[in-house]
Symmetry: C2
Subunit: 265 residues, 2 copies
């Protein structure tokens, strides 16, 4: 019997590296994950997809996953861009966007004239020398620079290799402008709490499954949830010696986690 | 009488922002600086140009300054690339270079096959998304990543605006790979010490003049030298409230510093 699997009512699943490996042409499902999502839904467990994906609107992202065979809808996804929009509206902030072209529609309802903050996401090919300098100049020109980051990931894995994630570029701007970014995606506490609220499950009865030891596992545990690390995606063996974060358990992949969880129901 | 100007035998001059403002087409001398260098040389004071410039070989850099009218030769310049080459040779390191195209010839005598470290300089247009990912992959693939940085500047000023400097990109790689870069340019102590040794002047009798509060002023003071900040180049009024570094004096520009210094001789 796996102690970590007891009394679970809700599941939060990271997407990239847990459901699929992303790549230039869209990505490839991780073996067993399509079926695992189907089995979770059939079991009656509450489910929420909790992603730091900021290379596409939720609509486009969900369509890609449906194309791979996943049973997923936009309403089931918690993502950083809508969280950022809430913050921008609450504080009357007008962003200069350094994000992926495909994410821009998420900010359609936001005033961007005469910017008084910078929002940075995983801009990928938009992380050009010119664009980074431009975002830097907007920030350094403010009396009190405000930098909002849609995550703090170090890197992720695509089919053609590891890529620097938004966190690395966030650090570059933080250092250049001597500011601290406000992170609205994982591992921010508010982000996990909104996912839990959307499921209607308290943290003690929820479990996060992710491939990122800090952003998924550390972040979820910081909210009082249990968290598993899968040995897929960006997982590396040295993660198991992480100085600060220890998952409640390791599993080889999502399918194995679901096997164990469903045996406990 | 200016106390900071007494008993000086040697001068270290930062170049960009003190002698000239750099720009796409080469740059423009700062008013009075050409004449100021000439007067220092005529006075018998020892002189060393101490730059973190890594966008060109020393030969090309010196030719540009001569073209603006400065009396300067390659033998008078202390720069990060030769310092890095000494470190690479001493420790049998084979670099993957993320530097400006025009700096590559400085590494001509260095074995670069099968790299076991990354050297990062102010690569400017070479700071592309693809090149940063490549440098990152080389580093993260090492058992113990070694990152050597030719400076830690935050930003600098060109005629068309502020630009992110090597330090920002260094921070991005440090964060992504969880390593600490070894800095070989200013403000590294070894760098100032080699400039002093080349002049044959002890730190108590030398003075550094620069526009960078941390890398020029803080670095030189950390070696026991006096240091002035000029109000040209990247200087900003808020530098005068820096929490850690306080120059021995401010001067409006190099010409003013030289006026005061020569009155004391």
């Amino acid at each position: 019997m796996a102690a970590w699997a007891r009394a679970v009512r809700g599941l939060l699943l990271d997407v990239s590296g847990v459901l699929y490996d992303s790549g230039g042409d869209g990505g490839v499902p991780i073996a067993g994950s399509v079926e695992a999502v189907r089995r979770i839904k059939a079991s009656g467990l509450k489910l929420r997809f909790c992603t730091n994906e900021t290379q596409a609107t939720r609509e486009k992202f969900v369509k890609k996953l449906q194309g791979m065979g996943f049973d997923i809808s936009v309403a089931e996804v918690t993502a950083p861009a809508p969280a950022a929009c809430r913050v921008l509206k609450e504080r009357s902030l007008r962003p200069h966007l350094l994000v992926h072209n495909d994410l821009v529609p998420e900010f359609a309802g936001i005033d961007k004239a005469n910017p008084n903050c910078v929002v940075i996401g995983d801009a990928a090919e938009n992380f050009t020398y010119a664009n980074l300098n431009e975002a830097f100049r907007v920030l350094i020109g403010m009396e009190k620079p405000v930098l909002i980051s849609l995550g703090r990931g170090r890197y992720y894995k695509e089919t053609d290799g590891l890529k620097l994630d938004v966190g690395a570029y966030m650090k570059a701007l933080e250092y250049a402008c001597d500011v601290q970014a406000e992170v609205v995606g994982k591992p921010a506490k508010a982000f996990f709490e909104s996912a839990l609220a959307e499921m209607g499950v308290p943290p003690q009865e929820a479990i996060m499954i992710g491939d990122d030891i800090v952003n998924d596992v550390g972040g979820a545990q910081g909210c009082g949830m249990r968290a598993l690390q899968v040995r897929t995606g960006k997982y590396r063996p040295c993660d198991e010696n992480h100085p600060h974060v220890k998952p409640d358990a390791y599993v080889n992949n999502l399918a194995e986690a679901v096997d164990i969880l469903l045996q406990q129901l």
